[in-house]
C-alpha cells in the first residue's frame, strides 16, 4: 500500500523555488546552472548525478568496497540494476558499469569493485579510492531485477564478483522481511575469496526463510565443494522448479546453470545478468558486422572508415571534411572496437563518441545513427 508522505514544503514555496531555478538558468545561459554550482562544490549539481565516496573498505586483497552518497538528481534504483560510474584518469573520463550491492531501500549506494588485471578503472579505484572522492554516476539501468510482486520462492546464484547485483536483491528482500523461502548460493574459489562473508551470516540471522550456502570451488571448508552441478540444486533448493532463479557470475558458471535449467525446461524461470568481458579486437582484417542502430541497417564490415560504410549501406550521416578535422561526423559508438585511422589508437569502450570518417571498425561495432 502506498503511504502518503506528508509534504514538508508547502506547494507555493515549491513553485517559487522552481521559478527561481528557471530564472537562474536563464541568467546563466548558455552554460547553465550546474557549470557554476560545481565550481563551488561538485556535489551541488542539479541535472547531473555525482556521488561522493563516504567510506572505503577492502574486504579481499583485490577488491575495494565503496559507500557512495549520490547527489540530488539520483532517483534510486531497483536491486539488480547497474549504474555507469565515471572517473578521470590522466585527463580522460573513463566509465564502467557496476551493480550496487546495497538494498534498494535507503539513500546510499554501495559498490564493490574487483581490480581486474590491466583494468584501468578498477585498478584506479582500487588504488586511489578515498573518502571525499567524487564520482560521476548515471541513472540506473538494466532489466535484471526482481518483479514488483516478489516471488514466493527465490533462488539466488552467484559466482565471484557476480555477487554484486544478487546481493543487492538479497539485502532488499531482507529489508522487506520477505515471508517466503530464499536460498542464496554463492561460488568462490576459497573461503578467503568470499566477499561479504560476515554480512551474509548477519542477513541469514535477520530473515528466517533465508539460507546462505557457500560453495568453494578450489578448497574445502564451505557448505559445498567443486563447480556447479545439478546435485547442488537438489541439495540446497529442491523446490527450484517452482522458484524464480537469479543468476550472475563468470561465464562457465552461467553456462552450466543455463544448461541445467534448459534441460529441465525451466529457462523461463531463470533470470541472468552477464558481465560481458571487454571485446578483444582482432588484429587486422575486416571482420564482423557493423550495425547502425537508429536506422536498423547492418552490413558486413568492409574495412573502410565507418562514414563510407554507412554511405555504402544507403545512409546519409552528417559529415563535413571527411578528414577528421571538423567533428561533424561525431557519433556515439554503443559497442565494439574501432581503430582511429590517423593515430592508430584502438577504442574498445562502449558508449564513447567517435568520428565516423576516421574510425575503422575492428570486429562487430554498433553506432547510434
Amino acid at each position: 500500500m502506498a503511504v502518503q508522505v506528508p509534504r514538508l514544503v508547502p506547494r507555493g514555496a515549491r513553485r517559487r523555488a522552481r521559478s527561481l531555478a528557471s530564472l537562474a538558468e536563464a541568467l546563466l545561459t548558455p552554460h547553465g546552472m550546474d557549470r557554476y554550482l560545481e565550481l563551488v562544490d561538485p556535489m551541488l549539481v542539479r541535472r547531473e548525478i555525482r556521488g561522493v565516496v563516504t567510506g572505503v573498505r577492502r574486504q579481499t586483497p583485490d577488491t575495494v568496497t565503496l559507500t557512495v552518497r549520490p547527489s540530488r538528481a539520483w532517483r534510486g534504483f531497483s536491486a539488480g540494476q547497474y549504474v555507469r560510474v565515471s572517473v578521470d584518469i590522466d585527463g580522460v573520463r573513463r566509465t564502467r558499469c557496476y551493480s550496487p550491492t546495497c538494498s534498494e531501500h535507503g539513500g546510499q549506494l554501495e559498490l564493490t569493485v574487483k581490480a581486474q588485471e590491466n583494468g584501468l578503472v578498477s585498478g584506479h579505484l582500487h588504488r586511489h579510492a578515498a573518502p571525499g572522492m567524487v564520482l560521476g554516476l548515471s541513472q540506473p539501468d538494466g532489466e535484471f531485477t526482481l518483479p514488483a510482486r516478489r516471488p514466493e520462492k527465490i533462488l539466488l546464484v552467484s559466482g565471484g564478483s557476480g555477487i554484486t547485483p544478487v546481493l543487492s536483491m538479497l539485502r532488499t528482500l531482507v529489508d522487506e522481511g520477505h515471508p517466503g523461502e530464499v536460498v542464496f548460493l554463492h561460488y568462490a574459489n576459497t573461503a578467503a575469496d568470499v566477499l561479504y562473508r560476515t554480512e551474509l551470516a548477519e542477513l541469514a540471522r535477520r530473515l528466517p526463510g533465508l539460507r546462505v550456502v557457500l560453495a568453494h570451488t578450489h578448497s574445502g571448508g564451505g557448505d559445498l565443494h567443486g563447480f556447479f552441478e545439478r546435485a547442488h540444486l537438489h541439495r540446497v533448493a529442491p523446490w527450484y522448479h517452482t522458484a524464480q532463479t537469479y543468476l550472475c557470475g563468470p561465464l562457465p558458471l552461467m553456462d552450466s546453470v543455463r544448461a541445467t535449467f534448459e534441460a529441465d525446461g525451466l529457462s523461463e524461470q531463470l533470470n541472468t545478468e552477464e558481465f560481458t568481458p571487454p571485446p578483444v579486437p582482432a588484429d587486422g582484417g575486416a571482420t564482423g558486422q557493423v550495425r547502425f542502430a537508429r536506422s536498423g541497417r547492418e552490413t558486413a564490415n568492409s574495412g573502410k572508415p565507418l562514414l563510407d560504410q554507412a554511405e555504402d549501406a544507403g545512409l546519409r550521416p552528417e559529415h563535413g571534411c571527411r578528414m577528421g578535422i571538423c567533428f561533424s561526423c561525431t557519433k556515439l559508438k554503443t559497442s565494439g572496437c574501432v581503430r582511429n585511422a590517423r593515430t592508430g589508437e584502438l577504442s574498445a569502450e562502449d558508449n564513447v563518441e567517435i568520428q565516423l570518417c576516421i574510425s575503422i571498425p575492428v570486429g562487430d561495432v554498433e553506432i547510434q545513427t
Binding site: 585527463g91 573513463r94 567533428f327 561525431t330 593515430t343
Partner: protein, 375 residues
Amino acid sequence: MTGLQDRLTPEQVEEFGREVDELRQRIVSDLGKEDVDYIQNMIRTQRALEVVGRGLLFAGFFPPAWIAGVGALSLSKILDNMEIGHNVMHGQYDWTRIPELSSQRFEWDTLAPAENWRHSHNYVHHTYTNVLDKDRDIGYGILRMDEGQKWHPYYLGNPVYATLLAIFFQWGVMLHDLEVEKVVKGERKVSELKDVRARILRKAGRQLGKDYLLFPLLTGPLAPLTFLGNATANLTRNLWAFAIIFCGHFPADVESFTEEETESETRGQWYLRQILGSANIEGGKLFHILSGNLSHQIEHHLFPDIPARRYPGIAGEVRAICEKYGLPYHTGPLRKQLASVAKKIVKLALPGGRTEPSPAPEPATVRRERELTAA
C-alpha cells in the same frame, strides 16, 4: 604568383606532409591531465570573472564599480569565446570524453549557436581555407578581402562595412551561418536553412534576454547602466575578436587559392595551403591566451583539433619546417598585422586587383629543383 601546385615537387610535398604529421602525432600522444587542468582552470577563471563582473554592475551607480564590472565581463566574454569556446568546439578536448568539454555539447556566450558555427567554421572554413568561392570567411559575404573577388561599385563601402562588422561582429557571425549569399545565388534553398534559422532565434533570444533584459531588470533603477555595461562588454569582445580573426588570414602576404588549384589535394598539399593561407600575431603570453591562441593561426590551421595551449610550444618547429621547405611563415606584431589588414580593406574598395596571375619570386626549392634538372 606561383600556383599552389608548383611550390614544391610532389615528392617534397609528401615529405613535408609526413614531417607535419609526425609533429602532430607527437603532440597527440603527449596529451594528458595537464591539458585538461589548463582548460578547466581557464573555465574557472572565466566563470569567476563573469560572476564578479555581473555582481559589480549591481553597484554600477559607483563609477569605478561600473568600469571594473564592464572590464571583468568583457574579459569573461573574450575568454569564453576565444580560448574556451572556439577551441572546445573544435574538438580539441573531445579525447577527454568529458561532456562539458565536448565539441558537440559546448555552447558559447555569443549570438551564433554552436551547431551552426561548427558547420560554417569547423567544416567550411577549415576545410576550404582561403579557397575563393568556397571559404565563406573571405569577406564574410559582405567585404572584398581578396583581389580575386571581382570588383563592384558596392565595394566602395568596404571600409564602412568593415567598421560595422567589427562593431557588430557577433551579429555578423550569427548571420554568416545563414549563407544568405548562397541563397541569393540559388546554391541553397531557403527551406534548407529552416533549422539554422530556428537555432538562431532560440539562441539569440536567450543571449539578448539575459544581457539586455533580465540582468538590467534585476538591477532595478540601475537598469540603463547595466544595459549599457553589458552592451559595452559585448562591444569590447566584438572588436577584439574581429581584430584577432582578421589578422589571421588577411594581412598582405597571405595567399588565397582557386578551386582548381585545390582539387584532389593530398594531406601534404592541404597542410601546405593552411600555412600559406594563415598569419600569426606576435605577442606575450597573456595576449596569446586572450586571442584564444589564434595568434598562432598557422599552427591552429595545421592542427585545429589539438589543444590550443600547445601551439606556442610547437611554433618554433613549424617555422623550422617552413624554412626547410622554403615556405613563408607570415607573422608580425598586432599593430603591423592590423595596419596591413586595414590597408587591404581600403585598397580593395577600389577597382583593380589580379586578373592575371601576378609574377612572384620563385620559391627557393623550385628554383633549386630547376637548376638541378638543368644541370
